[in-house]
Amino acid sequence: MKSDKLKFLIFFLLVIVAPLPLAGGYLVNVLIFVGINGMLALGLNLLLGYAGQISLGQAAFFGLGAYGSGVLTTQFAMNPWLAMLVVAVCVAAFAFAVGFPVLRLKGHYLAMATLGVGIIVHIAFNETIDLTGGPSGLSGIPSLSIGSLVFDTDLKNYYLVWGFALVAMLLSLNLVNSRVGRGLRAIHDSEVAARVMGVNARLMKVQVFTLSAFISAIAGSLYCHTMTFISPSSFGFHFSVELLTMVVIGGLGSVYGSILGALLLTMLPEMLRAFQDYDIIFYGLLLVSMTIYMPGGLVRGIPLLFRCLIPARGSQNA
């Protein structure tokens, strides 16, 4: 327990000091998106890594959060904080309702069902032009503010987004070490066995689905207030695939893994900029090779790699 708290404290300090050496450069802007993607990856990880439920439609909840906040604050002039809360609760309720029929499915069928939900929501964003502005997007979204402090610069938005992200991480860390977390892992291993042991698998799966949707919706609201402009193209199937990649590459079932995955995949285009058109090939190769050679993700693979490279010091056991 103590080492967990220490780990989190170190990470917390890291987040606080990270922008300082960057001196307001554009990397601070990138780190904002790392924070948002991190929250999304976290939500997906709870569903995927712990409960073992595949979801290819995570971008839908993200989008619903973003458009919900965007529409309420521009068309109905609602207070942004109130809108964020209202939208998150509504999206969670939607997830709760949809979760019951969807999570009865398993494996590939579940994947396709979540894909279907994601695509339908995405089409709705495009078609409801009067509400959402359609494919041309929704602009003029106000920034968040507390009293006289307006979150309109990259640095302020960085701390705002990471504040939420750290809370989400804390929540997840507490969850996975609790009764609920153990129940989730039991379901992951064998749903029938878990049921036999008295775990209400069906309800628990829907609960985790709802929580994941809630976090994603908040991330969506933060996204729309920091970008001040949203368009449907950011919430399609390809983004769901990106989130999936972040979770898998970072490490399934690991909170820090999700953040690592988000960091890597958000920064990857920067690192690959020299390759311009080749980055899509690199991306595909990365996915394929990581799945084959490092299925536990980086968070487990890197320590493993170290152990292989550094020769064992003597033999402790026979």
Binding site: I54, V102, R104, M112, A113, I123, E127, V248, T291
Partner: protein, 294 residues
């Protein structure tokens, strides 16, 4: 009278699109049945069929028949490479790992095609000209007849193969129970390879015959693959008539939806139907219920 003609047109156009979905759905079902894998890269095989044919005709200057053969052969090769490099190492992988790896492969294939042949859309000349044919108040193109014809051949061929040849029966045995099939001497590994060969050949063939109608570019595979998958699920993932019917029904419903309800939500209709099927009758419209061993 006009309304009847309109409906006839919706139905016939829907049948044509549905036949395409059926072909793609069949190729999904074949792989799924012998390996339990949903191959998200299936759409890319369809795309490769069209792109390679155009490449063979324009750059290699081959006549159309030779170009088709080359395209199907190369795509089959890609399918084999894919199976060897990506699927074979993951023998006991979780469904998640398989989904991710096939998605990764589809991204890779798309990226390679984009680099090699550019992002432009290209047209393939129709096989038998472009004069519309009138039928029951609606019009068809000769290319549609090609599509129906090939689909019919494939149905008959797959029926013969899976029920009247040793290899076909062996593949069906693998789909029922891999371990048992192994125990009776069927080389499961070879069956998996064979299933990929058939699927990629079928997929690329579908791509070739629809390219004159739909034109082709490096990203036509994504949506086609998804819709083909819907068709397969509707048909219960069987390698036969069920999937074909599923595809045809999907095509007709989409066409009617676009014409009578709303053209903007056309794709949403297809996926909504998919969701309904998954919620209410996940084993598909035409199969009896299944039980799972725990």
């Amino acid at each position: 009278m006009e309304f009847l003609n309109q409906t006839a047109q919706y139905v016939i156009s829907g049948l044509a699109t549905g036949a395409i979905y059926a072909l793609i759905g069949l190729s999904f079902a074949i792989i799924f049945n012998s390996t339990g894998i949903i191959n998200f890269a299936q759409g890319e095989f369809v795309m490769l069929g069209g792109v390679l044919t155009i490449f063979s005709i324009t750059t290699l200057q081959l006549p159309i028949l030779a170009a088709v053969v080359v395209a199907v052969a190369v795509t089959t090769l890609v399918g084999v490479v894919f199976e060897r490099l990506a699927i074979r190492p993951l023998k006991d992988a979780t469904p998640l790992a398989l989904i991710i790896i096939t998605i990764g492969a589809s991204i890779l294939i798309r990226g390679l095609v984009m680099l090699l042949w550019g992002k432009d859309t290209q047209a393939l000349p129709a096989f038998s000209g472009n004069d519309p044919i009138n039928f029951a108040g609606a019009t068809l193109l000769p290319q549609h007849l090609w599509i129906f014809g090939v689909t019919l051949l494939v149905i008959v061929g797959s029926r013969l193969f899976f029920h009247h040849t040793i290899s076909g029966k062996a593949m069906r045995a693998c789909s029922f129970n891999r371990r048992a099939a192994n125990l009776v001497g069927i080389s499961v590994g070879r069956m998996v390879l064979l299933s990929f060969v058939i699927s990629s050949a079928l997929g690329s063939l579908a791509g070739v015959i629809i390219a004159p109608l739909t034109m082709t570019s490096y990203d036509v595979g994504v949506m086609l693959g998804l819709k083909g998958f819907c068709a397969a699920i509707m048909g219960g993932m069987g390698s036969g008539f069920g999937t074909v019917l599923g595809g045809l029904i999907l095509g007709i419903l989409e066409s009617l939806g676009a014409g009578l309800i709303s053209s903007g939500y056309k794709d949403a209709i297809a996926f909504f139907i998919l969701l309904l099927i998954l919620f209410i009758r996940p084993q598909g419209l035409f199969k009896k219920g299944e039980t799972d061993r725990v």
